[in-house]
């Protein structure tokens, strides 16, 4: 209906243009864009409004944002793409998905790479072509309770720490009160120290909050452990999880779960539950998404007491991905959509986005926003210093899901690292093109 109306308007406008040498105000073309709800969608609405009221008038473009629920956005887009739909002009995508989406997207030209965090802009290239424009950058922090970590340094606690690490991990360790330099042993020993099972005086019931549900986003977090222990999905193109480093990374999760440093329920935890464990004061630390900072720093037991560190490990690395928007190849309004994308790639547009709560992938903007969200400073440093992602081609999204499925039984102690590592490698082999 709407389309027909628009078409009529467009034809009428076309007739006008054809009829008069100097066209009067052209009818605006509506560009429909998918995003997901939450801070990104809300921030983007502000940018959209600003565009429609300003630059959009000059461009003859009106942008309409449609929010789909987070869990179904990508499923719906998959259906739309396969149906070669032209209903939406701009799709929501991400660096871990752009490989899968690339066949249905048009290349975006004229983007100034220099404005963006390198990891974010590069993650959205497929065969060296820019297939999507970065919005928010996501990475992980090791969140911990600052009040509890600083309590470790007392002599009594040092002795207790040594004894607990001996019982739980089989090695005597001394407290390390600088989480930025933690090894995974330090993290595990600290988690054990703040678990009431081993230390009845611990203020938190559990030392760790482990998102161990069979969910692809949880694999992204586990990847930090893998990299922190020197591992990788592939080595010289061959699967590399059935190795000492791969199995050690599985065992870190397995130890946390089977030694009950985390709640038994955490076998079904994801982002929200991990946050709840921290804010309720029941858990002391967690490797978690940067997005959690605003909630953790303001609510519940972690309010004002949450510290941020890079993921533990010698080869400290954090997963980085960028949420992004790409242009539907089947859109009938390519030119108009390109105009909007061009606007979106400018600093003022992204500044607007940041002011409304987004986390744009432009360091220049993040720097100026540190006063509103202290974690922005860490994003820039960590993304540059530790930022990493497995670029596994078109099936990357699929691999994350498959690894969650294969590894999660070992994370929660149903299987051993040995049992799952070879299966994981077989999956990695079959999914790599």
């Amino acid at each position: 209906m709407r389309l027909r109306k628009l078409l009529t308007v467009a034809i009428a406008a076309g007739a006008l243009v054809a009829g008069f040498a100097v066209a009067p105000a052209q009818a605006a073309t509506e560009v429909k864009m998918i995003l997901w709800p939450g801070p990104e969608g809300e921030a983007m609405q502000k940018v959209v409004d600003a565009y429609n009221a300003g630059q959009g008038k000059k461009d003859g473009v009106v942008v309409k944002q449609v929010l789909l629920s987070r869990d179904n956005t990508f499923a719906k887009e998959a259906a739309l793409m396969k149906a070669k739909s032209s209903e939406y002009d701009i799709y929501f995508t991400a660096s871990y998905l752009v490989g899968q989406h690339a066949p249905y997207l048009s290349e975006i030209k004229g983007v100034n790479d220099m404005l963006y965090l390198k990891a974010s802009i590069d993650g959205l290239k497929v065969n060296k072509k820019q297939m999507a424009l970065p919005l928010d950058t996501s990475l992980h922090f090791m969140y911990y309770r600052t009040d509890l970590v600083s309590s470790l340094s007392s002599a009594a606690n040092t002795a207790k720490y040594k004894q607990i690490s001996k019982t739980v991990l089989g090695k005597e360790l001394s407290p390390n009160t600088d989480p930025e330099t933690w090894s995974w042993d330090d993290a595990l020993a600290t988690a054990a120290f703040f678990t009431q099972k081993y230390n009845p005086d611990s203020p938190t019931k559990y030392g760790y909050a482990l998102p161990a549900k069979n969910l692809l986003y949880n694999t992204m977090i586990w990847n930090d452990v893998l990299w922190g222990l020197g591992g990788n999905w592939y080595k010289n193109g061959a699967p590399n999880l059935n190795t000492a480093s791969g199995k050690a990374a599985i065992d870190v999760y397995r130890t946390i779960y089977t030694k009950e440093l985390t709640s038994p329920d955490s076998s079904q935890w994801e982002y929200a539950e991990t946050n709840a464990a921290l804010t309720s004061g029941n858990a002391m630390m967690a490797l978690q998404w940067n997005a959690a900072y605003s909630e953790l720093s303001k609510t519940g037991s972690t309010s004002g007491k949450v510290g941020i560190a890079a993921p533990p490990g010698k080869g400290q690395r954090t997963h980085v991905h960028a949420l992004a928007v790409g242009l539907n190849k089947f859109s009938k309004k390519q030119a108009a959509a390109q105009k909007w994308m061009k606007y979106l790639a400018t600093v003022p547009a992204m500044k607007n986005y940041a002011a409304a709560g987004g986390v744009p992938s432009m360091p220049e903007i993040l720097n100026t926003m540190v006063s509103t969200n202290a974690s922005f400073a860490n994003i820039i440093t960590y993304a540059g210093k530790y930022g990493y992602s497995e670029s596994a081609g078109a099936r990357e999204f699929d691999i994350y899901a498959k690894l969650a499925e294969v590894l999660s039984p070992a994370w929660v102690g149903q299987k051993t690292a040995d049992e799952v590592a070879s299966v994981a490698d077989a999956a990695l082999k079959s999914l790599r093109k």
Binding site: A78, N214, P264, Q268, E273, R395, D398
Partner: protein, 288 residues
């Protein structure tokens, strides 16, 4: 039962809307679905190419498919029995006059009014060990119980399904009960037969066909169980709670393999098709 030619025309006219509906909304989509099942149709690949029976071979050789099928059958049978019994019991309770009946009747139906996907989100909240009300209350009574501990997760999922869908069984049994003449109970009471015997000898036999329908419906519906388990466990740990619905959804929308997902759907129907005539016989709807 066809009495005359005129009736045959009427029969067709009466069924025409259904036939029209089925031909538009079912025949074409099924044709497309089967075509997809016979194609190599991946999201990551733009071209769709004919693949013969490749997808079916892959499905049949996939251990995940069979383990999902096994889990689904066990889950479906267990929830059907649990919900059937509870629903029947509840309908018997409601099959009399008592104070507050009307209000309670509506309250009992509440769970099916909440979309399973939203219900699952509510479960995530109220069953959460750290911020949920239910573990909170249990802890007050000194009962520490990890609801989502992988050892109890099957039990948990069955319970949650029962909370949501017992109402459905209840409503159907209740409606069926209304077709039993009240006099049966009265005359039985005069005979001095005890209530339990009345239920056993009179109500149950009369209700048998209705109960069979309800059981079959719940069985078929629980074969499609998806939202609640997917949101709560993602099918995990591993694939230990993966239903066939989750398998197909993940195959289509995460793996992006639409050909395989369609083939799995078709295989599922083919596997269950031999049961259909039996089910229909159960329904006593074989008219001739």
């Amino acid at each position: 039962m066809i009495r005359q030619r005129k009736d045959r025309v009427s029969a067709f006219v009466l069924a025409a809307p259904l036939l029209l509906f089925l031909s538009v909304l079912v025949v074409w989509p099924i044709y497309l679905g089967i075509k997809t099942a016979l194609s190599r149709d991946l999201l990551s690949e733009f071209e769709i190419t004919p693949a013969g029976l490749d997808n079916f071979r892959t499905v049949i050789a996939a251990p995940d498919f069979w383990s999902a099928l096994r889990f689904t059958i066990i889950f479906a049978v267990v929830v059907t029995i649990v919900e059937g019994l509870l629903g029947f019991g509840l309908a018997l309770i409601f099959d009399r006059k008592f104070p507050g009946k009307r209000t309670l009747f509506s309250m009992v139906l509440i769970p099916i009014m909440i979309a399973p996907s939203l219900m699952a989100v509510m479960y995530r909240l109220i069953l959460n060990e750290n911020i949920g009300v239910i573990p909170g209350v249990l802890q007050k009574f000194g009962w520490e119980f990890s609801i989502f501990d992988q050892r109890y997760v099957f039990f948990t999922l069955v319970t949650l399904d029962a909370i949501q869908y017992t109402s459905f069984a209840f409503l159907l049994v209740y409606a069926a009960l209304q077709n039993i003449p009240q006099e049966i109970y009265e005359s039985a009471a005069i005979d001095g037969a005890r209530y339990r015997q009345v239920i056993w000898r009179i109500t149950l036999p009369i209700l048998k066909p209705a109960l069979a329908i309800i059981a079959m419906l719940r069985l078929i519906d629980s074969f499609r169980t998806f939202d609640t388990i997917y949101i709560l466990t993602g099918g995990g740990p591993g694939i230990s709670t993966q239903t066939i619905g989750i398998y197909i959804y993940k195959t289509a929308f995460i793996t992006g393999d639409f050909g395989l997902a369609s083939a799995a759907s078709v295989t599922l129907v083919l596997l269950l098709a031999p049961l259909m005539p039996k089910i229909i016989k159960q329904f006593r709807l074989d008219i001739k």
